[in-house]
Assembly symmetry: C2
């Protein structure tokens, strides 16, 4: 049975060689410090969290009369996670956090997700919920909620979905009525479903971020406000009329309750307005955008661990008188898995790093906005595909629970659905991030890619050609889509969004791998490495790029063809 | 919650319009009779088998001290299945069967798999095991085993895999020593793993087809012989020293034990030689080839039911003020799902029908051999992809057990692994079915495709062009592979097999959809249909073809590029 493994060398290559996070002055963290912290973090994850992964899947949470119970074996590691200061990593100093570069914090989140995705939702959503409180809360909110959360006593969730309001959040029915003589407080009434980690005894109290409508609110998303709704009353007088009335029996993430939450069934549920009335969607999007990036990272994290475990297996399993890694088709599959897994890592860390860059130059904010749906959709889907490949690499063993491989498939699938389905991401990507932006940001990224292509030295002629063809195909595809949009054939645009997102995902990941290959090529030529082991690693970065380019980029033209071939509005076809 | 549904119209279109099975004289079954039998069969499946599907997943089998127990709710339907004569369908008259056209029998197997894949393994493997007995057994075998199997009292399994012998069957260690003074009987000793439906109380006795080595047998596959090993002694004196010592906890198929079987731990296990000594692999391949086609059908069956259930869901679920089927991206996904699902159906039924044709003309036997790895690999993989799409179409609901949608994903995944992984299929396809055949059969199929393309009437210019490009790409790809083979660069060949199989799968399914579209086009032009409902159906067959061609065929060129781009032997790359 394969062991937990994080490829430190590749992580550090991304952080230092590509992103140079040790040079971000405000953090004052040099390479050795960053390496030491991350190594400690990874040790914690390997020793305390990873051993709970398969057990979490088998045992899962239980719904009892007093709420959702998380198995005992997760309580101690969770407590340690807070006590050792890992939750505080990446948070501002003024609330007791330890600021670190964004990409470094992202590595930590990724390790949480790799080691136990279901568990990672607890601190992950709590942190995102707290960020909304921190950024939009008034003094009462800040002074009341932040500290217990930082101490690991209180958790946080996001409550959007209702039975008739999934993707269509604007259709939600939960209501919030101002309570007289209790400023800022509202009476909340409604039922939310599919609430991830919606209840648990890991925390003394769960603080729900709930979207609801105030009296006479306009219809749709512009009439929605955001409320802080604690499960337990803040004065310690008991339950705030928030009841978990059911949990879903799901494909996976068994350790995180996907809860049905009844707010105010007895008209006694009170919530506090967070941010301004009617700013609910905007403020929830602070949390939502973090959650979307985390979905992509869920794919990236699972892919990388699934790859590492498969690598161990194919190097041990003997068939036909040799370890199966020596069979050409297995080798090819593994090389492809590595290229995608590392490609996703480089995309996720690049995007995380943009949050630091955006403090210096607003231009990078538009990069984040463009890349968010790519990270979410492409990351979750490719991560899922790699998990499926990992099962294949393990043969019959991959299909059995105890090896923990098929769990990757089940754990990863949800990331293509929650926080806005990948179909919704594609529409956001094309309609808002490209067409509404008049292609400006996309143009910047394409220029970045072209600049990188121009830097490819001798020996990369084949890759250069594939890139040039792919860029032309991308241009043709978006040209076609823009033309449809200009002539108001919106159904033609909408039916092409997902293909164009997938096309772009391939190109962007190939670009990130190209940047890594360029750095590696230079270092190899200048002999800037220590020993064979580092030389070998730099060579693998070039292999990743070449494999991804030769094996994955050809599909870019196929996506272009699928888009341009579809000349008719498909809603007019018979089903 | 969506209901079970089989698209009779499409099934009948395949059987009558495409394959004309009512014209196979020897069966003497006209259209109304075939329709009536299949409708009855489907009613049985819908009412008796489908209701056990989700329950089977939740409860699963239990291993007890007296063997594997199947939950009570499956016993009665299984008994009915035999009593109503459904097991006998498609079997020869001389053993009490009811001969029907092969494609018709295939429809029935597909319905079993759609309604409860795990359950379908019991009668499915039993039938395949019995076919080996029927075709290779001596008088003793025929007179002893066939009748109890036909009566549903005895079941059958196939036992190949051992811990060190998965894909590499030739490495197996199980031994068979002749028993003196008991002709034909051998003492069997060894442990088999991953035995599908390897034990159960659905049958009084399980007859295992076991591969083992006789004393002084040559090494590898040519030294393997096949034995019939009953779990219970035939004289009723108790267990034949065959013990199920463990069952796997798997991703799915919980209702079918994946068993560890110990044969002869106490040196008291007796098996009867089936066929000649050392003919074990050849004879097991009778069963194996059936099982491979069934793997493909497992994908086809799950895809079609998953599509039908998704269709119901997207026509009911309202978001943004309209049923989600009206959203262009959902519509496109559904159209693609239908095209693939029906395309797989047409491939599976076409291949099944070839067994009838092969009785008339041996040429068709080579078609079966060429198409078997395509059916197995492409069918299982595309079926899996459609199951994944079905989850996506259902959003969060798709991720929850109770709707039975995510079960399709879990149930289908195993089909890419067992009966020879899809990687093994690809090697079989390229090395044996194409290169060893010197491309003869492939050439025939390509000619068939070209003839169909030539028949495309006005209005199909775009599809014609895409087909011509795809055929050129296929030619280039196999030309490259043949050149590598000719220059003995076998690793380059082996690393390309899977891509070429996938490429071929796309082309062949597109071809089957094209044949259906040609027939539909003619019938529409000649007004050969009754009423709007049939007209509508014929139109959908044209849509399927156009969608598949415009949306899936572009990837054929991408596969060609991936193959020809890979100029280096990947086993030389660092992992």
């Amino acid at each position: 049975m394969a062991n937990y493994k994080c490829d430190h060398q590749d992580v550090f290559f991304n952080l230092f060689d590509v992103l140079k996070i040790d040079q971000i002055e405000k953090y004052g963290l040099d390479k050795p410090s960053i390496k030491e912290i991350l190594s400690e973090y990874d040790k914690f994850i390997e020793n305390e969290i990873y051993p709970t992964r398969v057990k979490s899947d088998v045992e899962g949470v239980k719904l009892t009369e007093t709420g959702v119970k998380v198995p005992e074996f997760l309580h101690a590691p969770t407590k340690m996670f807070y006590e050792m200061g890992w939750f505080a990593l990446g948070l501002p100093e003024d609330i007791g956090g330890t600021p670190v570069p964004e990409a470094m914090a992202a590595v930590c989140r990724s390790l949480n997700m790799a080691a136990n995705t279901g568990w990672s939702a607890y601190p992950g959503l709590t942190k995102s919920a707290m960020n909304v409180m921190r950024l939009r809360g008034d003094d009462f909110v800040k002074s009341t909620f932040i500290q217990p959360i930082m101490e690991g006593r209180w958790g946080g969730t996001m409550c959007l979905t209702e039975a008739g309001a999934g993707s269509d959040v604007g259709n939600l029915k939960t209501t919030a009525k101002p309570i007289e003589a209790k400023e800022g407080w509202y009476q909340i009434k409604g039922t939310k479903i599919f609430i991830t980690s919606g209840d648990s005894d890991l925390y003394e109290n769960n603080i729900h971020l709930v979207l609801a409508r105030t009296p006479n609110a306009p219809e749709g998303t512009k009439g929605i406000s955001l409320f802080l709704v604690p499960r337990e009353k803040l004065d310690g007088s008991g339950n705030n009329d928030v009841i978990c009335s059911g949990i879903e029996h799901k494909m996976c993430l068994h350790i995180s309750a996907t809860a049905v939450l009844n707010f105010g069934e007895n008209d006694k549920c009170e919530g506090y307005l967070l941010g301004k009335e009617f700013d609910g969607m905007k403020n929830m999007f602070i949390m939502m955008n973090e959650a979307r990036l985390d979905c992509g990272m869920q794919g990236e994290a699972q892919a990388n661990l699934a790859y590492e475990m498969s690598k161990q297996y194919v190097n041990e399993r003997v068939q036909f008188g040799t370890e199966i890694i020596n069979h050409p088709d297995v080798k090819k599959m593994m090389l492809k898995m590595r290229a995608v897994s590392r490609g996703l890592r480089s995309l996720m860390l690049y995007t995380a790093d943009l949050f630091d860059k955006a403090h210096e130059d607003k231009k990078w904010q538009s990069y984040i906005e463009l890349l968010t749906p790519i990270c979410k959709s492409y990351g979750s889907e490719q991560g899922f595909n790699i998990a499926v490949d990992a099962v294949q690499a393990h043969g019959g063993y991959g299909y059995c629970h105890e090896y923990g491989i098929e769990q990757f498939v089940r754990d990863t699938k949800i990331a293509t659905i929650y926080e806005g389905t990948n179909g919704i991401q594609a529409i956001d990507f094309v309609m808002r991030k490209i067409l509404k932006d008049e292609g400006k940001t996309l143009g910047h990224v394409v220029n970045d890619i072209k600049n990188a292509v121009a830097k490819l030295p001798q020996g990369y002629e084949a890759e250069k050609l594939i890139f040039e063809n792919s860029l032309s195909a991308a241009q043709e595809a978006i040209g076609h889509i823009s033309k449809c949009a200009a002539s108001k054939q919106m159904n033609l645009v909408l039916q092409s969004c997902k293909d164009f997102l997938d096309l772009s995902g391939h190109l962007i990941v190939a670009w990130r791998l190209m940047e890594s290959a360029l750095i590696s090529d230079t270092r190899l030529k200048k002999s800037e490495f220590e020993g064979d082991q580092e030389k070998h690693f730099l060579e693998t970065k070039i292999v990743d790029f070449k494999i991804y380019t030769s094996q994955y980029l050809p599909i870019v033209s196929a996506y272009k063809d699928s888009i341009t071939n579809a000349k008719e509005d498909m809603t007019t076809f018979n089903l």
